[in-house]
């Protein structure tokens, strides 16, 4: 990979250890993905914030890199383990180490969004701009729906891009690679966010390519239903390495894989491991304003019969509070948790719960695999029908 004189100086440590470490990561990725050069990026979104997932070694790495490192571009941050404004029932050690991680990112100059839906709370760059998004669902959504350009970055590659303002020019950053080589032909009538999530999970698992086509899905989902497009992107991001989808016509002459009743049933059987649960969780990815409105309108004044936790960004929570949404939903039994996400939060562990109820395939996957918790996976509408009372 060809580096400019400035980049070479950064790599050799002339401009500090953090910049050198960041360039080392980017050069390793560039060589592995056959990049010929680095290109500037205008926005980075970093994952690897929750102490539950990065542990002590991650914390030490961040402390070290934040000693002399500073981000060069606007940089947002994924959720951490709990809500900053609450007093979580967690060990002192966890809380202290989580806050040390937050402090390291603060020192680096990262905006403390603690959100996996930065595209709903940040000012977006112009379409066609190169960015570097680590959160898998956000990367897929940005490429496929927002017309931004990113690879499916890792926590470390996005951090390195934030510090250098650069990213290797490879894979989805190259125009020719943004055309699908294979497509999923949907044969089903997709009715709700869970249907889209299941299709996404199947797609990611089946297509090990950078970009996939999806046929027979209404292009309206991009404009009318935030929950559907987010579920689709999160499903793809969870189960595969694919970083982009394109909604296509059936007549595109590329290899195809059918997605019908049997495929949907098998996907659901893999992720749905319980009929019932002790707590309902919404928000993986976190909910935005539109989804909170939808939750309220579906409830129609009914109350949850089980504890219900809703995960959303702090910014969304504040906006919803002003609009009176929070109070209404709290009356329905909803507990709000900002700054965190259903996935891998220490607030929902095997110690507290054997099973949960959710409409998120992403939450379902990580609850099952990482937290060893059974999941009743059903749509928002079904959850409200089964677990609310007037």
């Amino acid at each position: 990979m060809l580096l400019t004189h400035e980049e070479e100086k950064g790599l050799t440590g002339e401009n500090g250890d953090a910049l050198a470490a960041a360039y080392r990561i980017l050069v390793a990725i560039g060589e592995a993905t056959n990049a010929e050069k680095l290109v500037p990026i205008k926005w980075a979104h970093i994952s690897g914030v929750n102490y539950n997932t990065i542990g002590d070694s991650g914390l030490e790495f961040l402390k070290e890199i934040s000693n002399d490192g500073k981000v060069k571009v606007t940089t947002s941050l994924n959720p951490m383990g709990f809500d900053r404004d609450s007093h979580p029932d967690l060990s002192v050690e966890f809380i202290e180490k989580q806050m040390e991680i937050a402090q390291a990112y603060d020192k680096l100059g990262v905006t403390p969004t603690f959100s996996c839906i930065p595209y709903e709370i940040m000012a977006l760059p112009n379409e066609g701009t190169q960015v570097s998004l680590a959160e898998s669902s956000a990367a897929v959504l940005a490429n496929s729906h927002l017309n931004l350009i990113t690879n499916k970055e890792s926590a470390l590659s996005a951090l390195a891009s934030a510090i250098t303002g650069k990213s290797p020019y490879s894979e989805l950053r190259i125009k020719e690679n943004r055309n699908p080589q294979i497509k999923i032909v949907n044969e089903l009538n997709l009715e709700n966010e869970l249907d889209y999530g299941l299709l996404g999970y199947f797609t990611g698992k089946t297509i090990q390519k950078s970009c996939t086509g999806i046929c027979n899905v209404s292009s309206d989902i991009s404009n009318t239903e935030a929950w559907n497009i987010k579920s689709l992107a999160a499903g793809i991001g969870t189960s595969g390495s694919c970083g982009m989808f394109q909604l296509q016509n059936l007549d595109t002459h590329i290899e195809k894989v059918n997605y019908g009743e049997r495929e949907m049933r098998e996907t659901l059987d893999e992720l749905n491991t319980s009929d019932d649960g002790q707590v309902i969780t919404f928000g993986s990815p976190q909910l935005g304003i539109e989804e909170l409105c939808k939750l309220q309108s579906f409830l129609q004044g009914r109350k949850f019969t089980k504890p219900c936790k809703v995960f959303c960004p702090k910014m969304v929570y504040c906006k919803a509070k002003k609009a009176g949404l929070i109070e209404t939903l709290q009356r329905a039994g909803v507990e709000f948790i900002s700054d965190a996400c259903t996935c891998l939060t220490p607030l929902i562990t095997r110690k507290n719960y054997d099973s949960i109820i959710t409409n998120s395939v992403k939450a379902s996957y990580y609850m099952k695999t990482s937290n060893k918790i059974s999941v009743a996976l059903m749509s928002l509408k079904s959850i409200i029908k089964k677990f609310t009372t007037s």
Partner: protein, 132 residues
């Protein structure tokens, strides 16, 4: 870049490091039907690529910090960014073997998914993958 020697661990399915790997023990769980547990420590991991969470890069780093990491990795489908960046900060040699060479390697060496006792050498600088 680097050289590593270890017992081969051959996986035919992609790996979600965050969801499938225990960073304290180096065990891979939740793969296949979940009944079989694989150990990463001191192996040369041969697998298609990583999938899912971007935080998997930190998982690789944690494996290294806990001394339960594979000594080297070889991707058989593509080298993804999560694996590349995780290996980069963990100083784990990483290589790619294309489909044709992979098939030839499997045929010539008669490695199977059960033959984890076979030791191989990975030398990324000289682009060598060989059986001892």
């Amino acid at each position: 870049m680097g050289k590593a020697r270890g017992k081969i661990l051959l996986l035919n399915k992609p790996l979600n490091f965050l969801g499938m790997v225990n960073t304290n023990t180096g065990e891979i769980t939740n793969i296949d039907d979940g009944t079989r547990i694989y150990h990463l420590k001191n192996t040369i991991l041969v697998f298609p690529n990583s999938i899912g969470s971007s935080v998997g890069a930190y998982t690789i780093f944690s494996l290294r910090s806990n001394n339960v990491n594979p000594r080297g990795m070889i991707c058989t489908n593509k080298v993804d960014i999560t694996t590349a960046s995780g290996c980069a900060i963990s100083n784990i040699p990483l290589a790619f073997i294309n489909n044709e060479n992979y098939k030839r390697f499997i045929e010539n060496t008669r490695i199977s998914f059960d033959s984890n006792e076979i030791e191989i050498l990975l030398d990324t600088e000289r682009e060598i993958i060989s059986i001892d």
